[in-house]
């Protein structure tokens, strides 16, 4: 094989491909750049300049004000997301384990119904969920919101884990049973350690879903327990005084940052977990 094949020349076709890719990048990145630039400008600057100019005088006042406004709600979100993500992932793993390794009569039907849960739109469960939370005495509490997120997320996490575990050889569980391990020992000592890729997928998926959720937050929480997405909305939609775009943009960035961080930290597992099947036995 010649070197030419390995080092492609810059042909017209290639230039077209690069141009298209750059354009696509720009489409996604320009809003982010606008947000970033705006967040560091003064309100006067924003009114006089155009969207893409650099700040005349660079200031972090927007970020400071934004943090002051959403700080409490940001921690609300953390308090909702962390338990909701962990519980739904753990329960999903347990469900997937049972549905793949300890099949019972009707387990296929059970799994089918659970799958149905993945296609339920958020709006459909609002009324039944708020009724249930009311009966449980959990209305307008963080615990209640966590519960709703866990239940709603269970369909997805179960699906992830079940599909991962069906490709794990059943002989592994049989060997462990003969070795004297019980239901939970097999789960904890053998299956969970080999589930790292799918655990990552689940964590990222659930984190993104729950952190970015607005509807459940606005319906099932009120006042001081609201998540950051709702607080952001309230901040942006205040009608009193002049619009402080720099504060709005900074607050939006703050609200979006955690999901970005999670992707950067665990993103490589996400792809790996989605594409790889089971660990070979």
């Amino acid at each position: 094989m010649s070197n030419a094949a390995l080092q492609p020349r810059l042909s017209a076709g290639r230039i077209a491909i690069y141009a298209t890719l750059l354009l696509a990048c720009a489409v996604y990145l320009i809003p982010l750049i606008v947000m970033l630039l705006t967040s560091f400008k003064t309100p006067d600057d924003i009114r006089t300049g155009n969207l893409l100019t650099l700040p005349e005088s660079f200031t972090v006042i927007g970020w400071v004000k934004a943090w002051a406004a959403v700080n409490g709600y940001f921690w609300n979100s953390v308090k909702i997301v962390v338990p909701a993500v962990l519980i739904s992932t753990l329960l999903g793993a347990l469900n997937g384990y049972v549905l793949s390794m300890w099949r019972f009569r009707g387990s296929q039907l059970f799994f089918g119904l659970l799958l149905f849960g993945c296609f339920l739109p958020f709006q459909v469960i609002l009324l039944p969920a708020s009724f249930t939370l009311g009966k449980l005495g959990l209305a307008n509490t963080t615990t209640g919101l966590v519960l709703v997120h866990v239940v709603y997320g269970l369909a997805f996490t179960t699906l992830f884990f079940r599909n991962f575990y069906v490709s794990v050889p059943e002989a592994l569980v049989r060997a462990a049973r003969l070795d004297g391990a019980g239901f939970f020992t097999i789960f904890g000592r053998i299956l969970l350690p080999m589930s790292v890729p799918i655990i990552m997928v689940c964590l990222i998926w659930q984190f993104t879903q729950i952190w970015n959720d607005f509807l459940f937050g606005v319906v099932f929480a009120s006042g001081d327990t609201q998540p950051v997405t709702v607080a952001l909305n309230n901040l942006v939609n205040t009608s009193t005084g002049a619009k402080q775009y720099n504060v709005d943009m900074a607050a939006a960035m703050i609200a979006g940052l955690p999901t970005l961080v999670v992707y950067v930290l665990a993103g490589k597992y996400f792809l790996r977990g989605l594409t790889s099947g089971a660990v070979k036995g």
Binding site: R174, A175, L178, I190, G281
Partner: protein
């Protein structure tokens, strides 16, 4: 170490499904090596899982040391199993794989270390103890899988096709090692295979299985020399036994099988206990390749045209056509003729078998009726 007995064991996987195991009766003494052999899908793994307690049986009883164990959970049965896929725990090191069963049984750490050392030494895997299964070759994984079973010193070992994922050379090596190990440890073992050479070489007893039914349960020699039916006869032995369908002919007081090679005819004398029952009945004559050899000078012989010659090294396989059936003969390598040549063949009528053409059952031989002095050339049969 323990005796194992299966009494009328039945297994059905679900309501409305056919029985996967039908009335299995087997019994082996403490320290014996039982081979379970049969084609793929006949229920061998199912039977192993039933013995191990991984599947519930639908009827009958399984006894270890004369105690029923059907109601016990797998971990209480004290049985270890080696799986065809090895089923090593992928996230654990080799050491932890071997130690897992002992840890689960709350064996003190010092004892565990001792056992792991012993097993690793026995299987020559000491240098691999810190590795993960994914860093091992197929043969090494196989050894670790055996190590995991050996570490617990269970009452019974179950091996489910342990060698079928290895290449041919390694398979032969491991076969010998398993035999050696069994001779040393003398633990009761049930060994599943679909390889008839493993079946013949390893076992004290062989159970041949087909469609969930035990076709024959006997020693390897009995299975080879006196197969109960056509299935067993064709399954055991390589190259397989030759089967020639024919009608027996009466010649005075005795019966003969007439073999026709196209250029010659030969009357193979058979002595049958119950003469009348063979009248006009279709039978199948079974002759193993080594029972057809190059004829001695002057003896009775059948001339036949050699169609194909396959030298295998230790002996040469020659194919001829008898009664329009392709028949394999096993000749000494120096006696090898060329294709197209004419060859004089002689038969070992003592070892010739007769099968009922309709049922496939063997017509039982009655050696006690062979008149003294005649046994050299007359095979005797009784219709069963």
């Amino acid at each position: 170490m323990a005796s194992l007995e299966l009494r009328n064991v039945n297994k059905r996987y679900g309501q409305g499904q056919a029985d996967t195991l039908k009335n299995i009766n087997l019994s082996i003494d403490s320290g014996e090596f039982l081979i379970l052999v049969g084609p793929s899908g006949c229920g061998k793994s199912t039977l192993m899982n039933c013995i191990a307690g991984l599947e519930n049986i639908s009827g009958g009883e399984i006894l270890v040391e004369d105690q029923p164990i059907s109601g016990m959970s797998p971990k209480d049965r004290d049985i270890a199993m080696v799986f065809q896929s090895y089923a090593l725990y992928p996230t654990m090191s080799v050491r932890d794989n071997i130690a897992f069963g002992l840890k689960m049984r709350k064996v003190p750490q010092a004892r565990i270390d001792e056992e792991v050392e012993r097993v690793a030494k026995l299987l020559q895997i000491e240098h691999l103890l810190h590795r993960k299964p994914s860093q091992l070759s197929g043969g090494q994984q196989q050894r670790v899988a055996m190590g995991r079973a050996l570490a617990r010193r269970p009452k019974i070992y179950l091996f489910d096709e342990p060698l079928s994922n290895l290449d041919a050379k390694l398979r032969v090596e491991m076969r010998t090692e398993i035999k050696l190990m069994h001779q040393r440890l003398k633990t009761t073992t049930v060994y599943v295979t679909h390889d008839q050479i493993e079946a013949m070489t390893l076992g004290d007893k062989v159970a041949v299985m087909k469609d969930g039914i035990i076709q024959q349960f006997a020693t390897p020699q009995e299975i080879y020399n006196s197969p109960a039916n056509l299935f067993v006869a064709s399954f055991i032995g390589s190259p397989p036994m030759n089967f020639i369908p024919l009608r027996l002919q009466r010649q005075g007081a005795r019966w003969v099988a007439v073999l026709d090679s196209g250029q010659d005819r030969y009357e193979l004398p058979l002595s049958v206990e119950d003469g009348q029952s063979l009248e006009g009945r279709e039978v199948i004559l079974g002759i193993r390749p080594e029972q057809i050899t190059a004829a001695n000078e002057g003896g009775p012989a059948l001339r036949a045209e050699v169609q194909v010659v396959e030298p295998t090294g230790p002996d040469t396989l020659v194919f001829v056509s008898l009664n329009e059936v392709k028949v394999c003969c096993r000749l000494a390598p120096d006696a090898a003729p060329r294709a197209g040549e004419s060859l004089a063949l002689q038969f070992d009528p003592d070892r010739v078998l007769l099968f009922d053409a309709n049922t496939g059952e063997r017509l039982s031989k009655a050696p006690e009726h062979i008149p003294a002095g005649q046994s050299g050339n007359i095979a005797q049969f009784a219709a069963r």
